[in-house]
């Protein structure tokens, strides 16, 4: 008793905060704050400023919101986003149901296929559909005209309907994956007990299955709505020529104007932000509430109940095949076809005679293409690594600690979901034009933009993987004598690896596709593949674009297939 030694451990606050166990999470939190809050603050600030004038003003808002045209934008954006969300949702949910809950043939083979559209850059999908549905050069239109003897093209992609079709198709695999996960995680005993209580199959479906899926469905719809609002490729490539202006295309145009109307773009961006933030807020609330009230629907994977469709299973199989053709087969075929021609024409036997490899030669020897490919690779790897590392620490804070403010960190990391790429681009321009960090116009500003934009994805995979790690596994590290950092590196990270890798691959792939922020931030030196495709298409080099697209898609598919074989993980985590 007399010899109680007080440890030499310093207990004062500065020393305590300098331990790596505190310092590293603290730095991660600060970085997160910097990545999300600072650009948004700059956006707000910039929208109240006019070039060359002192002080703040609301003149941008007056210019932007006093025109009737802006309300047409609002209306168009709303219709476009809603239509897109509904189409994607209807397709994705029916596919998920067919694949998860029925005995339809071919369903097992469908998973791999559904990943392809996620890999294909949106700009290429959009271009492919222009090749297919343009009133003048669209293959489907010319084909139908010839077969049915029509005078006018039956479809016009350059319309709000065409835009919804292309974007909705494009987003449907995401809904499919979400709903498959929801179906998978539903305990079949819940349905079985309804049936044992005397409910018929349709009544079980209506009263139990659908009710249980409601949170997943509603949040899925909301997030598709937000993505529709934020979409850039379709509004730019189809909406602008089709004279269907929406928020994103208008922001783009006002920045491309001479002189660029930064202030007005900012004011419009604020409007877009507000709407999508409202959507994200609702989504977040729904997810949180669903987490509490419907906790039976999360967690373990169950073996689902499979419904025997009888003969109808051939009809559902046909649906899968048609969908596969529409979403992968047709777009890829038309790109491949165009890539082999010296100038674009619709597929025909006669066209075979013009086949040439000169587009491929052109792309392979085009110096800008090499530069863009190198930049895209560096950016994608950098962004994927940056996001994964940062969100691993943030997820650790939000999942494993009881630190005050962890809920705010969770929200911050999720915030960029509600920041459209263009808006992010606008705020980054402001930030790095005024901020004394000379990275504007370099690849660094793109990396920062990508990291910010994809934080939510990294956060989602890492935090769901972090939840799986039993608290005692880390505590065993500490009681074994390992300090925080050693435990994190040697225990937590290795256990996190499946989620970490899945997140990394996903962010790598979506970074290659990224266009909406790059279009504002990239210069001729820091150009990227998706932007190069966009520029080449705008300047009329359709067949070269097709060749580039074919090569890009094939290499991405190979990369993803190899990596997911190796890590065995991709699939449903995206």
């Amino acid at each position: 008793m007399a010899t109680i030694a007080l440890p030499g451990q310093p207990a004062g606050w500065p020393a305590r905060w300098l331990e790596p166990g505190r310092l590293i999470p603290l730095c991660a939190a600060a970085l997160l704050l910097y990545l999300t809050i600072v650009p948004l603050t700059m956006l707000v600030y910039g929208s109240f400023r006019v070039e060359g004038q002192e002080g703040l003003t609301v003149v941008n808002y007056i210019t932007a919101y006093s025109q009737g045209r802006t309300y047409r934008l609002l209306f168009n954006s709303f219709v476009y986003a809603t239509g897109t969300a509904l189409l994607a949702f209807a397709l994705g949910t029916s596919l998920a149901w067919i694949v998860e809950r029925t005995n339809t043939p071919l369903r097992n083979w469908f998973y791999g296929l559904s990943l392809v559209p996620i890999i294909v850059p949106g700009v290429l999908g959009t271009i492919a559909w222009i090749f297919l549905l343009s009133p003048k050069i669209g293959w489907i239109n010319t084909g139908l005209k010839a077969i049915l003897g029509l005078d006018d093209a039956p479809f016009n992609v350059f319309s709000i309907g065409g835009m919804i079709w292309v974007e909705g198709l494009h987003l449907s695999p995401l809904v499919f994956l979400t709903m498959v996960a929801a179906f998978k995680s539903m305990d079949p005993a819940l349905e079985e007990s309804a049936m044992m209580s005397g409910a018929s199959t349709p009544s079980t479906l209506r009263r139990v299955t659908l009710k249980l899926l409601l949170p997943a469905a509603a949040s899925g719809l909301l997030i598709m709505f937000v993505r529709g609002l934020e979409a850039f490729e379709v509004p730019a490539l189809i909406g602008i020529p089709g004279r269907v202006p929406v928020f994103t295309s208008e922001i783009y145009l006002s920045l491309r104007a001479f002189p660029p109307e930064f202030g007005v773009a900012g004011a419009l961006a604020m409007g877009l932000m507000a709407i999508s933030a409202a959507g994200v807020y609702l989504y977040h609330r729904m997810i949180n509430r669903a987490g509490d009230a419907y906790s039976t629907v999360t967690g373990k994977a169950f073996r689902p109940r499979v419904l025997d469709l009888g003969r109808w299973r051939y009809a559902t199989a046909a649906f899968l095949v048609v969908y596969g053709l529409v979403i992968v087969g047709l777009p890829f075929f038309i790109l491949l076809w165009s890539s082999l021609l010296p100038f674009y024409q619709t597929p025909s036997l006669k066209g075979l005679g013009f086949f040439t490899t000169e587009n491929y030669t052109f792309v392979l020897t085009y110096p800008r293409a090499q530069l863009a490919a190198r930049n895209s690779l560096v950016l994608a790897a950098g962004a994927a690594t940056g996001v994964s590392a940062l969100t691993a620490v943030i997820a650790w804070i939000t999942v494993k600690t009881r630190l005050p403010g962890r809920a705010a960190l969770d929200l911050l990391a999720f915030l960029p979901i509600g920041i459209p790429g263009l808006v992010l681009g606008v705020s980054m321009i402001w930030l790095y034009l005024t901020f004394p960090l000379p990275i504007y116009g370099t690849i660094w500003v793109l990396i920062i933009a990508y990291v910010t934009k994809y934080l939510p994805y990294g956060m989602r995979t890492n935090s769901s993987a972090m939840v799986q790690i039993h608290r005692e596994l880390e505590e065993a590290g500490q009681t074994s004598g390992a300090a925080w950092w050693a435990t994190f590196i040697r225990v937590t990270l290795p256990l996190l690896r499946p989620g970490f890798m899945a997140g990394w691959i996903f962010i790598f792939v979506v970074s290659i596709r990224e266009l909406s922020a790059s279009v504002l931030l990239a210069t001729s030196e820091s150009t990227v593949l998706s932007l190069l495709i966009f520029d080449l298409f705008e300047s009329g080099k359709q067949t070269a674009v097709a060749a580039m697209g074919v090569m890009l898609i094939l290499s991405l598919v190979v990369v993803v297939a190899v990596v997911s074989k190796v890590s065995g993980q991709f699939g449903l985590r995206s």
């Binding site: 010899t3 109680i4 030694a5 007080l6 440890p7 451990q9 207990a11 166990g21 039993h470 005692e472 596994l473 505590e475 065993a476 590290g477 500490q478 009681t479 074994s480 004598g481 390992a482 300090a483 050693a486 435990t487 040697r490 225990v491 290795p494 256990l495 690896r497």
Partner: protein, 391 residues
């Protein structure tokens, strides 16, 4: 490992841990004090939510305490004034978790080597290997070192967790319900093994469990906890035979409780009590005087059942109301007046439903609880005890 040196290896003084809650803060541990002597096996026993695991986690440093001190091997590792907090990795303790917390990404060898590697013991590769192999041999896992930890069975994982906790020869071993995830047979086996290992190594051990059999069979001393406080502390026999409170009597084993009033001195050292089933004699704690309200506790296995009236005192006539055959023994519920008494008989006992019998409560086996510490009996009594208590 520490041997021979006397004195206390682990001391917890007036420990308080408060969890903030939306409505009002919960005092998970509320002023707990105990000492574990060197080489002793000390158990915190209690129902879930009694604060035993929180106490253990405070000792480990996995929770920060709000008040009180934790002293390990003479070193204050946690105190409120002056503020001291030694992080868990600097406390040199070994801990076995309820889930074993075996790292699935490491082999058996790597799991055990981890504590030696991260603490930079300066061991050579060969020394490290021999230390790890020694630890594995100690828990009968020799030869398993190259396996992935996930390929082990539950019992083997439990042993592996023990080897990992012991490998760096910690000052104190902490065990958090280590046997609760095993099936009954294996649990019995490992109970014996764990006890023998602890006695052999003479390592100071703090054990947390809700299982009275584990506590009684393995411990040198037991502290029974409820609502964040220690209800009673003592050797296993003392806890079982002389429970201090109704809670302890009920939680450790099952018992019959009879409300009683003290009438006066009885024969010998016993006192005469007035209970719902009649007058009974029992020896009371020192200080109990006539007129006081007390509770008489008698274990089911201590109630003797006779078909003919035996000679001697503390005998009451009753009717067998329910019989339940449980394999190892026969549970008889016998109505005496308005009270149901639970008696545990050998399964061969010739007793039938409806039999008129005589129950004998041997004076030396009746315990009298004088201090209920304000714990209301109904909150903790099981259904059968509630019925057994006089209405």
């Amino acid at each position: 490992m520490a041997d021979g040196s006397n004195g206390r290896s682990l001391a917890v003084e007036d420990l308080v841990k408060v969890y903030p809650d939306r409505r009002e803060p919960v005092r998970a541990v509320d002023g707990v004090t105990f000492e574990v002597e060197d080489g002793q096996f000390y158990t915190l026993l209690g129902p879930s939510g009694c604060g035993k695991t929180t106490t253990l986690r405070c000792v480990a440093g996995l929770e920060r305490t709000d008040r009180g001190r934790v002293i390990v091997d003479g070193e204050v590792v946690s105190a409120d004034r002056p503020r001291v907090f030694v992080p868990p990795h600097k406390r040199n303790i070994g801990m076995v978790f309820q889930s074993y917390a075996i790292w699935p990404h490491m082999t058996v060898f790597e799991n055990v080597a981890f504590p030696l590697r991260v603490t930079r013991t300066g061991l050579s590769r060969a020394q490290l290997r021999s230390r790890v192999e020694e630890a594995l041999a100690m828990v009968q896992l020799g030869g398993y070192d190259a396996r992935m930890a996930t390929q082990l069975s539950g019992g083997q994982q439990q042993r592996l967790a023990l080897a990992r906790a012991l490998v760096r020869q910690p000052r104190v071993l902490l065990l958090d319900e280590p046997l609760s995830n095993l099936d009954a047979k294996l649990r019995e086996e490992l109970r014996v093994e764990l006890r023998n290992l602890q006695r052999r190594l003479r390592i100071t051990t703090l054990y947390v469990t809700h299982d009275q059999i584990e506590a009684l069979s393995m411990s040198n001393r037991i502290a029974v906890m409820a609502s964040g406080k220690i209800e009673q502390e003592g050797a296993p026999r003392e806890i079982y035979q002389r429970p201090a409170t109704q809670f302890v009597a009920n939680f450790v084993g099952s018992t019959n409780l009879l409300e009683a009033g003290v009438r006066g001195p009885g024969s010998g050292a016993a006192m005469c009590l007035e209970t719902a089933i009649g007058q009974a004699q029992a020896s009371c704690p020192v200080g109990v005087t006539a007129g006081e309200r007390v509770t008489l506790s008698i274990r089911p296995e201590n109630i003797r059942v006779h078909t003919a009236e035996p000679a001697g005192g503390n005998v009451f006539p009753g009717v067998v109301e329910q019989l339940m055959f449980l394999g190892e023994y026969l549970d008889c519920r016998i109505r005496v007046g308005a009270t149901l008494l639970l008696s545990r008989q050998h399964p061969t006992a010739q007793i039938r439903n409806g039999d008129q019998v005589y129950v004998e409560l041997p004076v030396e086996l009746c315990a009298v609880l004088s201090d209920t510490h304000g714990i209301s009996s109904s909150a903790y009594l099981g259904e059968e005890q509630e019925r057994a208590v006089a209405p």
